[in-house]
């Protein structure tokens, strides 16, 4: 079992390493919007002194941390799997003794992520010199961030795979995926730290799972959360992972029955 993952990792790593130049292009997707929002909010914060107590350096630290966590917990299933349902090439994978999603897509995701992280390092360091963020990172928070990021990724992975599986019915699921990323932008803290949302949206963002995948690990690493809050949030992450995993299994099973391989 473990050997399969290891072998797939090696293949994926080698495969994606071929497309280094492309990786840099894709990295730009994760870089641009945090830098844009950083610029927008620091402009406002420096003009006013602070926004709700958050100063320009607070925003800088927030978005610099977000750059790392966003890549770590994001999921690219729709980009690497949706077309297989659409053009029928999923058929070839169904006959293999490997789960097309839970093994193949997962490892693909991880290899992509690892390379993106590697490419991010020099760029992040340049941004560090440009913006000079101030972090107060403790070893405990970094240790706690490991499960928080891992569960954050799994949460997005199961959400992403479930959305991609909608293609079994509609053939294309891009619009639903766009919708998800739109909600994620506001509800997970990509656009602005959640504390600055209007009251009703703050309540909504607390109840919804999106913040667990991004805002929570970022705040944890910035040292804004107590141990109790952290534990509670990790617990919530686990609950949501189970719920979304069950949802994925249902959608996958019923979807496969519906799947008729285009052209067959």
């Amino acid at each position: 079992m473990f050997a399969i993952y290891k072998q797939m990792w090696l293949v994926n790593w080698a495969e994606q390493w071929q497309y280094r130049a492309n990786l840099l292009m894709y990295l730009a997707f994760w870089l641009v919007s945090p830098i844009v929002y950083l610029a927008v909010w620091t402009t406002i914060a420096s003009a006013q002194g602070n926004i709700n107590g958050l100063t320009a350096p607070d925003f800088v630290a927030y978005y610099m941390m977000l750059l790392i966590v966003d890549i770590a917990t994001s999921d690219i299933t729709i980009h690497i799997f949706a077309y297989k349902i659409m053009d029928g090439s999923l058929s070839n994978e169904l006959v293999l003794p490997i789960h097309p999603v839970l093994q193949k897509v997962l490892v693909n995701n991880l290899a992509f992520k690892a390379l993106q992280m590697l490419a991010l390092v020099p760029i992040w360091l340049i941004l560090y010199v440009l913006y000079q963020p101030v972090f107060s990172i403790t070893a405990v928070n970094v240790l706690l961030a490991i499960p928080a990021i891992a569960f954050g990724f799994l949460l997005q992975f199961f959400a992403g795979t479930t959305i991609t599986c909608i293609s079994f019915w509609t053939t294309r699921a891009w619009s639903i995926s766009d919708f998800y990323s739109n909600i994620f932008r506001l509800m997970a803290g990509q656009f602005v730290p959640l504390a600055l949302l209007p009251a009703f949206m703050q309540t909504a963002s607390q109840l919804l799972p999106f913040r667990l995948a991004l805002y929570f690990p970022v705040q944890l690493l910035l040292g804004k959360l107590s141990i109790e809050e952290t534990m509670l949030n990790i617990g919530l992450q686990m609950v949501w992972c189970v719920i979304l995993f069950m949802l994925f299994r249902v959608v996958w099973r019923t979807g496969l029955k519906k799947y008729s391989a285009v052209g067959a």
Binding site: I44, I51, T170, W174
Partner: protein, 261 residues
């Protein structure tokens, strides 16, 4: 006349293609509306915390959002789908058939795939621009409106020309087929006035991937921030971009030798 007939034929074929995915198209339109509301919500969050950003008020940012969406419509209707088609064409050699047609090949590769339902987004963009323009208390002169419209069109033409140039480079560097991705990645920077950004990002989206020229600049004309010479300068760049890119395309086509040879 011939070109119009060609265009209408392609529109018809593409309409038929899109009708095969009706559910997707309808869902997409609904999502566009929700997405617009969501973007406006984002703006309202910004303006709940401040009166202006970089000197721009809410209605100006709404108009900017409209112009930004206008550029996005062009990307989503023509640029992205045809890039996909073009890359496949280079890889499997089906581009040969395009060049055999007795029509301008640049026109042909620009309209082979048109995602029709995106025209719906066009309406949203125009509404946003009108709302933004009438919402503010800034008095706009007819000259400023004409300059705004002209710069919007020339801005879009610059982006289109950049696209043509980038895909033409595939003829020289086969591995270059993902250069267009960088355009998509930088699109987000067009949502806000370029003055807000640090100098390096502003330089990048003005000179390298000129998203700001297509979004911020027309709005600046509307705000009366540009002198006549600047307006004429940007328009001249637009015309030059179109001419240069079609030259590059032609030179690229001469280099093309088909996938098998």
């Amino acid at each position: 006349m011939f070109i119009l007939k060609l265009l209408s034929t392609y529109l018809k074929v593409n309409l038929q293609q899109d009708l095969a995915y009706r559910a997707d198209a309808i869902v997409n339109m609904v999502m566009s509306i929700i997405g617009t509301g969501w973007d406006l919500l984002g703006l309202s969050i910004i303006f709940a915390n401040t009166k202006e950003i970089g000197g721009w008020g809410p209605s100006e940012l709404i108009a900017l959002m409209g112009v930004w969406r206008l550029v996005n419509v062009m990307m989503a209707t023509i640029v992205w789908p045809n890039t996909e088609k073009f890359n496949t064409g280079v890889r499997d050699g089906s581009l040969d058939y395009t060049f055999l047609q007795p029509v301008n090949s640049q026109l042909l590769i620009s309209i082979t795939r048109i995602v029709i339902w995106r025209a719906f987004d066009l309406a949203i963009a125009v509404i946003l621009i009108i709302v933004g323009m009438t919402g503010g208390n800034v008095v706009t002169s007819p000259v400023q409106i004409v300059a705004f419209l002209a710069l919007t069109i020339s801005g879009a033409a610059i982006i289109y020309s950049l696209w043509i140039t980038l895909i033409s480079l595939t003829f020289w560097f086969t591995k270059f087929d993902n250069s267009v991705t960088i355009m998509a990645a930088l699109m987000d920077a067009g949502r806000y006035p370029a003055q807000v950004y640090p100098y390096w990002l502003r330089a990048l989206i003005t000179f390298v991937i000129p998203i700001a020229v297509a979004t911020t600049v027309p709005l600046q004309a509307l705000r009366g921030e540009l002198v006549d010479l600047q307006i004429l300068g940007f328009l001249a760049i637009g015309v030059a971009a179109v001419i240069v890119s079609s030259r590059v395309w032609k030179a690229g086509v001469r280099r093309y030798s088909g996938a098998s040879s």
